[in-house]
């Protein structure tokens, strides 16, 4: 590209065996507001971290104004005229805002003009950052980034935490930057914002940049279909067949009734019945982590109730919920396991797998149960002595195997196939289906949309802490993704759908 302000070519990055970026080409012209888009796991956040010097690319080149640059730490990015506003506020909570500004070498006095331009004069810079509400921290972050007068502003999900009127002020800043022939790299899940305010967008899929185009021309539909690519629709037939075959019993085992918690989880109602697999679909940060925390008894909901068998449960501890046969397989596998111990101990450890209530554990019974579980999941036992030496896929199987025992009624799976190989993924799918056929209920958050068609009977789409749509497993991936962006979907929702709300 001639005259581009920022160019990257074939940027790649792997974490161990997991490939995050395979080859990203990006060109941001001066005076351009450029959007970086992609579905969950497409590599956006890794790319942002590389551009801001938080991570270093394994290979590939980054050029700013035609000169190759190497960024080793966040301070370098600033030196090259690239100022980021990170997804998480980069303000140190125990320092005052003014001290936070001094920390990055920003003069607190100069930021005053920036703030008054954004109509935020009232913010007291001597307040501790922890006492300032999140939306204003983001605005302060933005003002700080702007005061370095960078050639390129990098805004990572800045509007996600902002109410509409503050978002408008961000768009005004983007307009100002454009008119001064400077550039903005804008990352957002809100496709309407992208269409409205961006001159160009680059879409990532599977760690590759697959297309760059003008978002205004094709609209949301083109963006969504580019994010998904061709492959998507093969699994739908399979799902259609299954939905007919499964007879869903009427009485739900587990229900969330208008559950809200913290900032992110607003109002979620859903239920799951025996023999059913409910998929949860959401973009990052829509409250799914909190939802699983609440469902698994790890956290009390601030509003609403959790009911088991129609009766409200006040869980003080995950133990209370586990006793009712509701178990969580979390995203962080190592966190859930005893990494230094053997497969056998790991499988035998959870309470409701107990072999004996009191006294010494009966070795023979325990061995037999563990052997059954290991066999059922075909766990590779070559590294049986220490779970941490197993592959990611086998670790995941152990975390699931721990809970396979009589008494299991609901299994909560949080993104169970992240970072594991295709073969193991299918074993996990088969296991989930088998559990459902045996009468258990499964709630599964997935960041891979095709898994809805592969394993689930129904999907609830979460956006902004609410269930915005309930869709059958036969819904196409583009429908799911459209709904996950908080947009209207054409496909008829299932009868039990909770009313989608407008923002």
């Amino acid at each position: 590209m001639n005259g581009a302000l920022l160019t990257t070519s074939a940027v790649a990055k792997s974490f161990g065996t997991v490939v995050a970026l395979r080859g990203v080409d990006l060109a941001v012209a001066p005076g351009e507001v450029h959007a970086l888009l992609g579905a969950n796991g497409a590599g956006k956040s890794t790319m942002v971290k590389i551009l801001t010097g938080v991570l270093r690319a394994d290979s590939g080149a980054i050029e700013i104004a035609g000169r190759p640059v190497e960024m080793r730490r966040p301070a370098d990015a600033r030196r090259f005229g690239l100022a980021p506003v990170f997804q998480d506020p980069a303000m140190v909570p125990d320092l005052t805002v003014a001290d936070n500004l001094r920390l990055t070498g920003t003069d607190p006095r100069t930021i005053g003009q920036r703030l008054s331009a954004m109509d935020l004069d009232g913010l007291d810079l001597d307040e501790q950052a922890r006492d300032i509400p999140l939306p204003f921290l983001r605005m302060l972050d933005l003002a700080r980034a702007m005061s370095a007068d960078p050639q390129l502003l990098l805004l990572d999900e800045i509007t996600a935490a902002l109410p509409p009127d503050l978002s408008e002020r961000v768009f005004a800043v983007m307009q100002e930057w454009r008119s001064r022939n400077r550039s903005v790299l804008f990352i957002s899940h809100r496709l309407a914002e992208v269409r409205e305010h961006c001159d160009m967008c680059t879409v990532l899929r599977d760690g590759r940049s697959v297309a760059s185009f003008v978002p205004r021309e094709g609209g949301e539909a083109q963006i969504v279909s580019t994010m998904l690519g061709e492959a998507a629709n093969a699994v739908r037939e399979q799902a259609r067949e299954r939905v007919r075959a499964v007879r869903v019993e009427d009485r739900p085992i587990l229900e969330a009734r208008s559950v809200g918690a913290g900032r992110q989880l607003d109002d979620v109602s859903l239920s799951v019945s025996p023999g059913e697999v409910l998929g949860i679909v959401a973009l990052e940060g829509q409250g799914q982590e909190l939802l699983f925390d609440v469902l698994s008894g790890n956290r009390q909901p601030d509003r609403g109730d959790i009911a088991v068998d129609g009766r409200v449960v006040k869980a003080g501890h995950p133990f209370d919920v586990i006793r009712k046969g509701i178990v969580l397989v979390p995203a962080d596998r190592i966190n859930a396991l005893l990494p230094q111990r053997s497969i056998r101990e790991n499988v035998a450890a959870p309470l409701f797998n107990r072999v004996a209530r009191w006294g010494p554990i009966r070795g023979r019974v325990e061995r037999q149960r563990v052997a059954e579980a290991v066999d059922r999941l075909s766990i590779d036992t070559r590294a049986a002595a220490q779970v941490r030496r197993l592959s990611g896929g086998n670790q995941q199987k152990v975390t699931i195997a721990r809970w396979l025992a009589p008494g299991l009624r609901v299994m909560l799976l949080f993104d169970p196939t992240r970072g594991i190989d295709v073969g193991t993924k299918h074993q996990v799918y088969d296991l989930v289906r088998a559990l459902a056929e045996e009468g258990a209920a499964v709630v599964m958050f997935t960041s891979e949309l095709r898994e809805v068609g592969l394993v689930c009977d129904r999907a609830a789409v979460l956006h902004g802490g609410r269930v915005v749509a309930e869709l059958p497993a036969t819904a196409s991936e583009s429908t799911l993704l459209t709904a996950a962006h908080g947009l209207e979907v054409d496909e008829a929702p299932t009868p039990s759908a909770v009313g989608a709300r407008h923002e």
Binding site: G122, L123, E127, D131, F136, P163
Partner: protein
């Protein structure tokens, strides 16, 4: 945070209200409240002590200020490390090492030579502490383990340089650093001077902010461009300066070196106690150095007050423990109330 007055707009045209700034008083109470509280505690103890002795003169003041000095300096060093998110279990051993090394070198030396030796010893402790910080940074082994291991090594060094109690120093050096039992000004001036000339300028600098930033939230600090390695190493080096000086104080106070390792262990624990009692959060990022100095004074006064009451001095240790728990508990409750209100 969640109930801050922000009207989150749902429709266009509704504007988001700015958060109301906290009042000057509540801000002061929040940031300096703990220090003021410890100061009040110290004042109460002082008044009590004055009522116990018939004539509260220079000697009584000196027993408090001179007796506190080494703990106060150790607590300052410890606080710097804790504020930046670490903990220094080698502080006491470093102090004993500085004491023994300076006593060995200063024996039979003149005043001028002693001053030179003092500077050299400080340079050595700063370097050693920086090395400890560098080992923590490079190896990634937690602070608590590296500094614990370092405390054994430093105790060994101390025994190696001076086999048993011994060494000496010049009389003028003793007067300069520790004053005397009727002459308390030097001890006050050194402590206040360290706060005013070393700590306060530093606290306002980029490095001082980095210390707090790193201890408060490592990720945010890193994203703000704080150099992790430099902050760590400098925080330990600075701590080495204060602990080294605490060692010189002991040399001046006792006129010799004492390589017994239990002195170091007790001193380390006292320094952590003074830091915590002085409002430094063990989680990092919170606190200052005035609080710990005042807390060190309180910790010194407790046994004196007990003796004044005619109690067995051994009960003083129990009282010390009870007071630490009570103060931290009450302060914690007050803070929890603030957070929820």
């Amino acid at each position: 945070m969640s109930d801050a007055p922000v009207a989150v707009a749902t429709f266009d045209g509704v504007s988001t209200t700015l958060p109301t700034p906290s009042s000057a008083f509540s801000r002061f109470a929040r940031r300096q409240g703990w220090t003021v509280g410890v100061a009040v505690l110290f004042a109460l103890m002082l008044v009590w002590r004055m009522s116990q002795v018939p004539r509260f003169g220079n000697f009584e003041i000196a027993t408090i200020t001179v007796g506190t000095m080494s703990v106060a300096f150790l607590a300052m060093g410890q606080s710097i490390v804790i504020i930046s998110g670490g903990i220094d279990l080698s502080a006491g051993a470093m102090m004993v090492f500085a004491n023994c090394l300076s006593a060995l070198w200063m024996q039979d030396q003149g005043y001028a030579a002693c001053l030179g030796i003092a500077v050299a010893v400080l340079a050595i402790t700063v370097t050693l502490a920086a090395v400890i910080g560098a080992v923590i940074t490079v190896s990634g082994v937690p602070d608590i383990i590296v500094t614990l291991a370092a405390s054994f090594m430093l105790a060994g060094f101390a025994l190696f340089v001076i086999g048993g109690p011994g060494g000496g120093t010049a009389r003028q050096f003793q007067r300069l650093v520790a004053g005397g039992l009727d002459f308390y000004w030097p001890s006050v001036l050194w402590t206040v001077g360290a706060l005013a000339l070393v700590w306060f300028p530093l606290r306002r600098s980029r490095f001082g902010l980095s210390l707090y930033a790193f201890g408060s939230d490592r990720k945010s600090a890193f994203l703000s461009g704080v150099s992790i390695a430099r902050t760590r190493i400098l925080s330990y080096a600075l701590s080495g300066l204060f602990t080294g000086f605490a060692g010189l104080v002991i040399t001046a106070y006792t006129g010799g070196g004492q390589p017994r390792s239990s002195i170091g262990t007790t001193a380390t624990l006292n320094s952590v106690a003074a830091a915590v009692l002085g409002g430094v959060a063990l989680t990092g990022g919170v606190g200052g150095l005035i609080g710990p100095v005042l807390a060190a004074l309180c910790l010194t006064m407790i046994p004196q007050l007990m003796v004044g009451l005619g109690w067995d001095p051994s009960n003083a240790e129990t009282a010390r423990g009870v007071i630490i728990i009570l103060v931290v508990l009450v302060a914690g409750l007050l803070q929890a109330r603030r957070r929820s209100s």
